[in-house]
């Protein structure tokens, strides 16, 4: 056990690497989802940053993003320390991102512990969120475990994976009286409705939030056991962190890494995983209907932004910045104007906006709209 408080060694790592194609045309290559003000005046990334107030100081909040998004990220989120915005030279999924974060934390503080968060989430009860992460950091600092944050399921969602818990976990040198911890029995993929209802009935299942807490040492050791190339990558990169040679060393080490998620690489393999009960309100907002669930609507369920005139229409999402949109007699549609493009689709096709983006990428005339 360290003599200092574990929070003195705490880092937060926000994964903000994707483009959020499902939010096109509002999201573009240069203005990805995490830099959009989807839920408030603040961008998704700023909201993720703000949530850490009083938990982790600004200089220890890292953001991992695509190399080409480093500049727009710094420009859009002025509270971030520029040296803490780290560009991934190519897309290598979340296991490699966690390893990269571990290397940076380890180099800056050999006793470092860090939480993995994303800019995709919307949360309420932020004091409880911070208590949960704080306790996770304390547990991770003083126990050789990988902590995952499970969300107390509000309903039998089929949109999330689940964590099945086993026995209570009795953490050493950590006060878990407010935030219960459990050993993890297994992770399960998104279930169908009936299965999800069965999960909830047992009382042993939580939503898999994709938020984790661990020490740099523990996660490196776990990589060494289950993905040795990622442990090697960490150890080889550490000496270059915060030096002029960092970008080259990162590019050389990152390129050969396999694209694999942290769930497949570690969470489904390691046997020292524990789950903290996350009882704060939480949602993953991956497409427009999920965002709209967290925005105010009119009496007919229409969520509108900008200049929208509504006649006999219900349950639509209409974003009309900079122009007037008039709708008559439509239901359950998503309408988004941005710059020189407009998207229209039913809510239940909002996932397929990605397909349009793929199609547009093939057309040279549309590059300025992507």
């Amino acid at each position: 056990m360290s003599a200092s408080s574990p929070l003195d060694h705490a880092y937060a790592v926000i994964l903000a690497g994707g483009y959020g194609e499902r939010f096109w045309p509002l999201s573009t290559m240069a203005r990805p989802k995490q830099l959009l003000s989807l839920l408030s005046e603040r961008t998704m990334l700023e909201m993720a940053f703000d949530r850490l107030d009083g938990l982790v100081p600004h200089e220890r909040v890292l953001v991992l993003t695509s190399a080409d998004l480093v500049e727009p990220t710094i420009a859009t989120a002025p509270d971030l320390r520029p040296e803490n915005v780290i560009g991934e030279p190519m897309r290598r999924d979340t296991a490699a991102a966690v390893a990269l974060a571990a290397a940076v934390v380890k180099a800056r503080d050999p006793e470092g512990v860090f939480c993995i968060l994303t800019a995709d989430h919307v949360m309420g009860d932020l004091d409880l969120f911070r208590d949960t992460i704080r306790t996770g950091l304390e547990v991770a600092a003083n126990n050789d475990v990988l902590v995952t944050i499970g969300i107390t399921p509000a309903h039998p969602s089929t949109a999330f994976g689940y964590v099945e818990t086993g026995d209570p976990f009795d953490a050493q040198n950590a006060d878990t009286s407010k935030i219960p911890f459990h050993r993890v029995a297994r992770f399960v993929e998104k279930p169908d409705r009936e299965t999800a209802e069965g999960y909830l009935a047992t009382g042993r299942f939580w939503w898999n939030s994709g938020m984790f807490v661990w020490s740099a040492d523990s996660v490196t050791a776990s990589f060494a056991a289950h993905r040795p190339e990622l442990a090697e990558f960490i150890n080889e990169l550490v000496p270059f962190v915060d030096t002029d040679g960092f970008a080259d060393a990162l590019a050389a080490g990152f390129e050969p890494l396999e694209k694999i998620s942290i769930d497949y690489a570690l969470m489904e393999k390691a046997d020292n995983i524990v789950m903290a009960e996350g009882s704060f309100s939480w949602d993953d907002v991956g497409s427009w209907p999920e965002v709209a669930n967290h925005l105010p609507s009119d009496e007919a369920g229409n969520v509108t932004r900008g200049d929208v005139t509504v006649l006999d229409s219900a349950n639509n999402i209409v974003l009309s910045d900079g122009r007037l949109t008039a709708i008559i007699g439509i239901e359950d549609l998503v309408v988004v104007h941005a710059d020189g493009a407009t998207l229209i689709c039913p809510k239940d096709r909002a996932q397929d906006v990605k397909k349009i983006v793929t199609e547009l990428r093939a057309n040279p005339d549309h590059q300025n709209l992507l």
Copy 2:
């Protein structure tokens, strides 16, 4: 019978007075439907003008429109003679418009005969259209009758009124061998489907096209019998036509006239009405779905203009000048972008675009979009 050809005295009058609110936001107060290029590169008004080629010389084609549309009409349709674009100082429906046209024709040629056409129609078989109007002009010049053009019904439409015919009409001093004429038994309103099918089964019913042919004398005499104030208006206005006093005399005479359609004012009252069989293709295009019926579509029935990317969508109408519109999984919608506004509605609500325009008129922020 006149010694000269009746075509030497022929005028064409195109009624182009409305704003076409159903085409908002493409149509606006300053850019009404008749000045839009809905069906071709030419505007609706220019298409109406072009159809008269070889039938009536340019200097005898009159356009009646709202006073505030005279300037944009002249600017948009350079083939029109400016002195032939006549502004109605206020809206007084079609009976008053016909009376105004009769006064202008009578003043310029006491033997004048004229056809009443509109810019709302789409037609094919234009040689047959011109033959029909030409024969109508000849019949109207040499017989004291009011000629209405009935359209041979292509299907039991519920969107048009009908003309029921009686005996064949044996015109004097006119060659009706190619274009049969009938006496008119009655005009009937838009029927329901079953009634329309019954009409077609009799072989005696034609669509009421709203196109008419008559001499200035005959129509004035008919007004004298059924709407004497309109005959008075004509006779009082004639001396002012093509003088500096015209605008004042028109305003003074027009203002007190009742708002009434030519159908109610004359056609349902007069007993000297005959119908010419119009066998050319014809449609009245009052809203987007009707326009789209006359435009090419993709294999899924989508009519698009401008930059439109379509995924899994059918039977939509999308006008996207100046921006990209991407649609996914939508059917039977109308989407129109123009300037700073976008309209979205199902095809079967296209009539209700007028309601949106009415609502927007009440909002000072939206005046620039109307």
